[in-house]
């Protein structure tokens, strides 16, 4: 069974440029998560989808970040414009059920973003 796929794995951009990350969750998984992991820190949840609905986006900086999950499968996270402080690893995870509190999350390898 294929795991969570993310692309690109690495991205280097200049500040004020836009950037997008793509995630393909495990087939059949209803819930999809986007996390940001700063260096030396644990993952921080940005947004959680149940099917195509964003049910928790309280930590998403909505002035510059946006996300979508069309048809409840793949998802894209966008930053526009990027700032120096956005340099981090962006992780995507998925889980099978809709009980986000207890479900096992399966993580992709992440996208390492460097903003110059």
């Amino acid at each position: 069974e294929a795991g969570v796929v993310q692309s690109p794995r690495y991205k280097i951009i200049e500040k004020k440029q836009p950037v997008a990350f793509w995630c393909n969750p495990i087939s059949g998984h209803n819930t999809l998560y986007w996390y940001r992991q700063n260096l030396g820190q644990g993952p921080e949840l940005l947004i959680r989808y149940e099917n195509e609905e964003a049910v928790d986006d309280s930590q998403l900086p909505k002035d510059r970040f946006s996300a979508e999950r069309l048809k409840g499968v793949d998802s894209t996270l966008k930053i526009q414009p990027a700032e120096l402080g956005d340099s981090a690893v962006y992780l995507c995870a998925s889980s099978a059920g809709l009980a986000a509190s207890t479900d096992t999350q399966y993580f992709g390898p992440g996208t390492r973003l460097t903003v110059l």
């Binding site: 644990g42 921080e44 949840l45 309280s58 930590q59 992780l91 986000a100 509190s101 993580f107």
Partner: protein, 116 residues
């Protein structure tokens, strides 16, 4: 709100020695507890989780953790470590109540290095 504290950022240990990685949490409501491991250049994967029942939880790769409600702790242990256990370990807490907003918190991680 919930929070997770991992008291040790780095833990070096000799091969075949026992290890304990400490995790404390704070929460005003009931919680579920998780340990995830991140091997170099890989995504996070679940080691074990405590949802209810027996306070001693056994996970993959010979790891176990004990939930201690009075101490608000969920320490991870392994009686004999291997070189392959070298990785970053994250403790996480979630709450069963969907109306509390961001309901999944990771600690800052503990880097375990097994010395030959």
């Amino acid at each position: 709100a919930q929070s997770v504290t991992q008291l040790d950022s780095q833990v070096p240990v000799f091969e075949e020695a026992p290890v304990e990685l400490r995790c404390n949490y704070s929460s005003s409501v009931s919680v579920y507890l998780f340990w995830y491991v991140q091997y170099p250049n890989q995504g996070l994967q679940l080691l074990l989780k405590y949802l209810s029942g027996s306070t001693l939880v056994k996970g993959i790769n010979g790891f176990e953790a004990e939930f201690n409600k009075s101490q608000t702790s969920f320490h991870l242990r392994k009686p004999s470590v291997h070189i392959s256990d070298t990785a970053e370990y994250f403790c996480a807490v979630s709450t069963p109540y969907p109306n509390t907003g961001n309901q999944f918190y990771f600690g800052t991680g503990t880097s375990l290095t097994v010395i030959p």
